[in-house]
Symmetry: C2
């Protein structure tokens, strides 16, 4: 886990917001027909809610993924993103012990 990369990923308003939305998909996104929220939420829904362009959101999700904070699953034409809760748990430990 790269501390610096994680903190950089977290130091943007939109990316923080996305992570918070993903904490409770049922609450924050309209129903998804096929998969529920098992795999997370697809890029398009996040993009709509965030009100930024598709390319920007795609990049932001990559950034979060490189930092290990989210995971993605491709299903057909859709890519679903969900939080990686283990990474958040690890992060609190980093702050408690290393920082």
């Amino acid at each position: 886990m790269d501390q610096l990369e994680i903190f950089k990923a977290l130091s943007n308003k939109s990316r923080l917001q996305i992570l918070q939305w993903l904490k409770d998909p049922e609450l924050n996104f309209p129903e998804q027909e096929v998969y529920g929220f098992e795999n997370g939420v697809c890029v398009g829904q996040i993009q709509q809610k965030a009100g930024l362009t598709q390319s920007t959101i795609s990049e932001y999700l990559s950034t979060l993924q490189r930092a290990g904070l989210v995971e993605s699953t491709r299903v057909g034409q859709w890519t679903y993103y969900k939080r990686n809760e283990a990474a958040f748990a690890a992060l609190t430990k980093i702050i408690e012990k290393e920082l």
Copy 2:
């Protein structure tokens, strides 16, 4: 506590390093004559160790202070900085609950 401001303060290698050094001043800095490390470590010592200019370090310490991660005490011509451990504890809670 402003999440975003905290994460921005943490997303710089030198500032992270400073926080780690301040975790154990006895270990990371030469003895200070008058005050021990009660009040923390003065700017000059941090600057020397970091190998950046005085102005840069002064700014970085302000950044950390604005984020609430350190506190400063002026004693004569010196300003001592030390960690605000309460802020770190609060940060782990933010990550657990809000993030």
